[in-house]
């Protein structure tokens, strides 16, 4: 597992208060991890902070699962 994936999962666990083993690549923030729309906004902000990137709103809308976030950040995080 990449370093980025580890850091993403850690953030998800902290923000959504879910068990680590539930945070799988294909887990949907809303459907599987109990997030609401405001939680997802906050998650994206946490990713921005952690990885020092800006995630534009249209990109944020495509980040629906843990894997989506990891993929986006692997591509865009410096």
């Amino acid at each position: 597992m990449s370093d980025i994936a580890d850091r993403v999962k850690k953030i998800v666990v902290e923000h959504l208060g879910v068990d680590t083993d539930k945070v799988k690549d294909n887990a949907s923030f809303i459907d599987d991890l109990g997030a609401d729309s405001l939680d997802t906004v906050e998650l994206v902000m946490a990713f921005e902070e952690e990885f020092g990137v800006e995630i534009p709103d249209d990109a944020a809308e495509t980040i629906l699962t843990v894997g989506d976030a990891v993929q986006f950040l692997e591509k865009n995080a410096g």
């Binding site: 208060g17 906050e42 921005e48």
Partner: protein, 411 residues
Amino acid sequence: MVTPLACGVDATWKRILNGESGANRVEKFKVDDMPCQIACQITRGDGSNGSFNPDDWMDPKEQRKVDDFIIYAMAAADQALADADWKPEDYEDQIRSGVLVGSGIGGLEGIEKSSLLLAEKGPRRISPFFIPGRLINLAGGYISIRHGLRGPNHAVVTACSTGAHAIGDASRLIALGDADVMVAGGTESPITRLSLAGFAACRALSTGYNDTPAKASRPYDEGRDGFVMGEGAGVVVLEEYEHARARGAKIYGEVIGYGLSGDAYHITAPTPDGDGAYRCMEAALKRAGVMAGEVDYVNAHGTSTPLGDEIELGAIQRLAGNDAARITMSSTKSSTGHLLGAAGAIEAIFSLLAMRDGVAPPTINLENPSVETEIDLVPNKAKPMEINVALSNSFGFGGTNASLVFRKVAA
């Protein structure tokens, strides 16, 4: 209730009757450069010995999103609904159950912190939970979501009268038929550096007792020099009388009177002649259909400010006239400090407990009264006495006044 004395009604009441103070030095932020360095703060812990454990009342993940006033209100509402044994599960019960919980200030700490974050890191760092975690009516919002209260969903913001107005207004909603059950009260988490600085600038806070915090809140005493800020929440379950009787609910007392008035005088100072306080008590007693001389116990607003205490006392003396010597009045703020928007709610609860237990709680630190009065101010020691009618006063910045009258209900 959650108060600086304890988490929970019984634990708080025990300490009130023991004449204890909840005041101590503020350690959670820098106070060396402030004139007032003390407050009545909630003791956090694992929940034992009356300590407050926020995790007992709200998921840590949710706590992160809100200011403490919401957590305190959730705790107080959970306790109140459990005590009342009211769990509206079916839809019909839910739509007849509402919430009316207010706060004087709301989420000041979150506003303070987010404002600094905005200045430092810009708008993209402001959390989506910033607004919903600070709004005053979100205390009621969270309570309604947890307990399925789909009836009236309302909030009051009248500074230090908030808690009393909330209970009074909620009782009227029931009387008018808008709901059968209302979860009502006030909550406040005002102990922040910004707020302490602001109230100190208003010259409202005690500044002379930083080394002896337990002595600082001393209503009616000639050594008083301002109020001591407190934090916490008080919530009651109000219920239509027959509705409560029919299900055999525990009844602490009946709300028989509620009066409101405005000073129309000054933003922070009460009218020197106590006209606003007088009219609000008068209106409450008229509504209750009782004479001033029939009031056994008054839980005073009595914040320990040089101006306010004597004005309130004067208004009560005027109201009671020749019956003044019959009246027993104390300020529990001497123990709890001033919980601002929660004050009226916790004091309504103290008034009900005073009736239940037949004891007037003491005004602690009352060593040398600043004025002579026939009214018994219950100095320093609780006074056992039969209490059938109790009146609770709350007066707030902006010249907003509320009085509640309670009557003991025969078992």
